[in-house]
C-alpha cells in the first residue's frame, strides 16, 4: 500500500475505489433489472429459446455474469465499508442523520441475504427453459433486484453525504 500511496494520494485512492464500486453497481443494476423485466414480462417463445429484446438475458451465462458482478460488488463494498465506518458514519451520527445510518445498516443485511441466495439463483438459472423452477427462479431474481436497487439507492445517499463529488 505504501508504494501505491507514493504514487497517488490516500484520498484519490478512496475516490477511485468508490468510483469502481459505482461502475460495477451500474453494470449490475442494468443486468439484474433487465433480467427481472424479462422474467416478469412473458416473452414470445420459439424452438431455440425465448426471443424479443430481453431474450439473451434469459440465459445461464447472463445469470453467471450477474453472480460474478454481485460477488465483486460485495467485495468492493466490504472494502469501502472500512472507510464508511470511520470517515462517514461518525460525522453522520454527529450531525444526527439517523435515517441514513439506519438505512445503511439495513443495506448490510439486504446484501447479505442476497449473497445467501446467489448459489440457488445460479442453480435455478442453469436451465432457464425448465418449468419446474420457473416460479422460484422469478422470485429469487426479483429479490436480488430489490437488494441491488436498495443498495444503490442507499449507497448514493451515503456518497452524497461524504463521498465523491459531495
Amino acid at each position: 500500500m505504501d508504494i501505491l500511496f507514493s504514487v497517488i494520494s490516500v484520498q484519490t485512492f478512496w475516490k477511485i475505489s468508490v468510483f469502481l464500486h459505482f461502475a460495477v453497481a451500474v453494470a449490475l443494476l442494468a443486468a439484474i433489472t433487465l433480467q427481472a423485466a424479462a422474467v416478469l414480462l412473458p416473452a414470445p417463445q420459439v424452438a431455440g429459446g425465448p426471443v424479443g429484446p430481453f431474450g439473451p438475458l434469459l440465459s445461464a451465462p447472463s445469470a453467471t455474469l450477474i453472480v460474478i458482478l454481485y460477488v465483486v460488488q460485495v467485495l468492493l463494498g466490504a472494502w469501502l465499508y472500512i472507510k464508511y465506518r470511520t470517515y462517514v458514519r461518525i460525522p453522520m451520527e454527529g450531525l444526527r442523520h439517523w435515517w441514513s445510518v439506519g438505512a445503511f445498516e439495513f443495506k448490510e443485511h439486504t446484501i447479505t441475504m442476497g449473497l445467501a441466495l446467489l448459489p440457488a439463483y445460479w442453480y435455478f438459472w442453469r436451465d432457464p427453459a425448465s418449468q419446474q423452477y420457473a416460479t422460484i427462479r422469478k422470485w429469487v431474481t426479483v429479490f436480488l433486484l430489490f437488494t441491488v436497487w436498495y443498495g444503490v439507492a442507499v449507497g448514493h445517499v451515503v456518497n452524497d453525504f461524504r463521498g465523491v463529488g459531495s
Partner: protein, 202 residues
C-alpha cells in the same frame, strides 16, 4: 455362427443402452444433490445470519481505526475506534451454513423436505411467541417475568414445529421446499429491520 453374432450384437446394444442410463442416473443424482445443497445453504444462511446478528456473535471483530482483528466479539477501548462486526457475522454464517447444506445432501429428499419444514417453522414461530410473550407481559395486569424469557417462548415454538413437520404431507413439503428460500430471508429482514427501528424513531 449367425446366432452367435446375433447374441453378441444384442449384448453390445444392451451395453450401449446401459452406459448412458448409468451416466444419466449419476448426473441426475449429482444435480439433485447440488440442488439440495444450494437450497439448504440459502435457507440455513438466512436463519443463521439473523441469529448471529441478533445475538451479536461474530467470528471476529475488526477495528478499522487501528487496523486490528480480534477473535469473536471484542468492543475494545474507546481509543481503538468503532468495532466492526458485520464481517464476522458474515463469515461465521457462511462457515455454519456450509456443513448444514453438506449434511442435507446426505439425507433422503423427503426427509430433508420434512426437516426443512421443522426448522423453518421453528425459526418463524420462536420470534413470534417471544414477541407475543413480551407484549403480554407488558399489557397484563399480573406479574409474569417468565414471559420475557427467550427459552419459555421456545417451548411452544418447538411444539408447533414438531406438529408442522409431523402433519405436513410429503407433497406439500415438496411444494413448500423452495418457497422457504424466499420466506426465510424476507422473515430475517423483517426481524433485522425491526431491530433498527430505533434509528428511524430518533
Amino acid at each position: 455362427m449367425t446366432q452367435a453374432l446375433d447374441i453378441s450384437e444384442r449384448v453390445a446394444y444392451r451395453e450401449e443402452q446401459r452406459i448412458p442410463a448409468a451416466t444419466q442416473a449419476r448426473t441426475a443424482t449429482s444435480t439433485g444433490k447440488l440442488e439440495m445443497f444450494v437450497v439448504t445453504f440459502g435457507i440455513a444462511f438466512a436463519i443463521i445470519y439473523t441469529l448471529f446478528e441478533r445475538w451479536n456473535w461474530p467470528l471476529f471483530t475488526y477495528h478499522p481505526a487501528v487496523n486490528r482483528f480480534d477473535l469473536f466479539r471484542v468492543v475494545g477501548i474507546p481509543e481503538d475506534g468503532p468495532p466492526m462486526f458485520w464481517y464476522g457475522w458474515l463469515v461465521l454464517s457462511a462457515i455454519a451454513a456450509t456443513p448444514v447444506a453438506a449434511v442435507a445432501t446426505a439425507l433422503p429428499r423427503q426427509s430433508l423436505q420434512r426437516a426443512t419444514v421443522f426448522f423453518c417453522v421453528l425459526a418463524a414461530l420462536w420470534p413470534i411467541f417471544y414477541a407475543a410473550g413480551l407484549y403480554t407481559d407488558e399489557v397484563a395486569t399480573f406479574n409474569a417475568p417468565f414471559l420475557r424469557s427467550v427459552w419459555a417462548s421456545g417451548v411452544p415454538a418447538l411444539a408447533g414445529a414438531i406438529a408442522a413437520a409431523w402433519l405436513v404431507s410429503a407433497e406439500r413439503a415438496e411444494r413448500l421446499w423452495t418457497s422457504w428460500l424466499m420466506i426465510m430471508p424476507i422473515g430475517g429482514l423483517i426481524i433485522l429491520g425491526y431491530s433498527l427501528l430505533d434509528f428511524f424513531e430518533r
